[in-house]
Symmetry: C2
Amino acid sequence: MAAKRPAADDGQAARTDGAVAPQPRGSVMRDVARLAGVSHQTVSRVLNEHPNVRQETRRRVLEAMQALNYRRNLAARTLVTRRSGTLGVVGLETTLFGPASMLYGIEDAARTAGYFVTVASVRTLERRSVLEAVDRLCQQSVEGIVAIAPKPAVTNALVQVPSGLASVGVGGGADDDAVPTVRIDNAAGARLATQHLLDLGHSTVHHVAGPPDWPEARERVEGWRGTLYAAGAPVPPVEPGSWSAQSGYEQGQALARDPAVTAVFCGNDQIALGLLRALHEAGRRVPHEVSVVGFDDMPDSGYFLPPLTTIHQDFAELGRRSLTVLLDQIQHPGDRPADHVLLSPELVVRASTAPPRA
Amino acid sequence: MAAKRPAADDGQAARTDGAVAPQPRGSVMRDVARLAGVSHQTVSRVLNEHPNVRQETRRRVLEAMQALNYRRNLAARTLVTRRSGTLGVVGLETTLFGPASMLYGIEDAARTAGYFVTVASVRTLERRSVLEAVDRLCQQSVEGIVAIAPKPAVTNALVQVPSGLASVGVGGGADDDAVPTVRIDNAAGARLATQHLLDLGHSTVHHVAGPPDWPEARERVEGWRGTLYAAGAPVPPVEPGSWSAQSGYEQGQALARDPAVTAVFCGNDQIALGLLRALHEAGRRVPHEVSVVGFDDMPDSGYFLPPLTTIHQDFAELGRRSLTVLLDQIQHPGDRPADHVLLSPELVVRASTAPPRA
DNA sequence: CGCTAACTTGTGATCGGTAACAACTGGGGT
DNA sequence: ACCCCAGTTGTTACCGATCACAAGTTAGCG
């Protein structure tokens, strides 16, 4: 028997002193098979829960695996099955609350479904770096790609993905029909916020927007503007900004000087935080003189001064849903049109909004 | 030539209609070799930048790779080299600012070093779930594991890692010498904060701590307490809490009622946020009546009301340094004692601290 | 008792790379 | 002219799993 693999043992010994030490080798299927007194194929059957294995044999194999602390080699399995059991995530290198939460939602759902997750983060959302990230994931032979995709460059890059590879964009805007997406209804969220302020009696609502090149920000602007139109309220101008508290603070300083401003809807909670500070410094009290609404419902926004009324979106759920879509694609690789899942955000009323002073 | 691989084309056709479609196969090394008119081994040499390949040959191979859009199959490479080029991260499923930042720091450094990153997140820090996560990563045959390790259960689980596998804990406490760690000097940070307040003239400093079962929280308590001792200041009692704004708010309500409280050091910035709200609601002005210091320097804390004086720690750097340690272990697998890297945090003075009122 | 069907198990090929070794080139030194 | 060595390329075995197929075993049934 040993004669069949002449180089096995000797070769192993002869290989010492390599430049970079290879991983120490654990036991492999052959070892388990030998210990259990069966063929390697039977071990494989037990592992893959093939029905036609005698109970007694299965027990022996499982015992041998236990005894040898056997772990199946995924590389070998991947090589032959062409299925890696791995999904890729293209993530933006940011600590914005949303993206981070989505990542964990995705990982959680992937684990439940029996998949591994590898991350390729990009520092910028340029087309080139996204393509590079996708390429890295393809090398890993991932079975599908989730792109945390706030900007079109990302989903566009997905279109270039080698044909047949499943993909989904999560949490961005809706600008490309070719790639399935899962996102929240930003316009609806903006409408909720704006209408809430109008309903309180404000004659109009100002808006401090996120970066204009982010579709999410644009959709929120449109929802806000549409609501004002529908109500016949004047539409104040919008200045370009970023997602940061600093941006909210800077624009807030200007708004605070304008006594006509009684209600402000912010592109996200961080902007709202900056705005609150600017209003406070200018001596304008919230919500008595100015009402403020945010977007995202970060864990902290209930503890702002005052606690922030905002639009809640469930990032973890977004991550989970994106995985549902992705797995569906993997299992039924029909080329029917990409689906677009749209989740509804909710208004959370806290203490930063009130009717305008008479 | 074709006779050598009789099943290649026919087998492919016969395999249609499998239950789950395997990945569509791209071109492989053999295809590139054929197109370039060389052997597959030469292609391998070009790929691995082996020096002894004629310039002209290399050019032809590269062209062929380009033309066929060739991508090397990492599973095959891993199988034979026993090196996966992948590192594993055990991450806590949380959106705390710190862990999320570290993840990106790690991924960034890993990419630079030519490694992939796969994530295994855990929902709780129990020993069992951490072990399970480590096991998942081992299956992936990662070459090293970074554990975002705020609690000892995590680093302890690392000790159980199959011998020879490199590992490092990042960002937790220092309670186990067996596993290398990279973390910031929490006690030193706490001393900075406390001393800052004492230097302003406060007769003592109160503390709202993080969860007592987190070493990080405990180290901060010790740093604070030690500084008070050294200054001969009375040491107020510490209540158990969590890292959340809610915890800060609840404990803040009690502190706000006590007129003897003029300076508070918080376990992190979120706690400080809650505390600020409690003080505000109780009508105690910050910093004029009460000074507050946080810990972490989240991006938003400069926009709290008032802007928060806090201890800055560089999470991304923490992630990068952990990778340095890990790669060092991989390249020099000597069994010398584990190193422990300790980064120094910095005091950032903003507007939430001032001398006590006369 | 023989025969087929279902269950169980083993054998050999294969996935796509890399490692080891052999074979073939073309100078440079004596 | 000869040898040797370095540079270049090809051949073959191998990593550790799965798959297809064959072979042996048991059971059911006329």
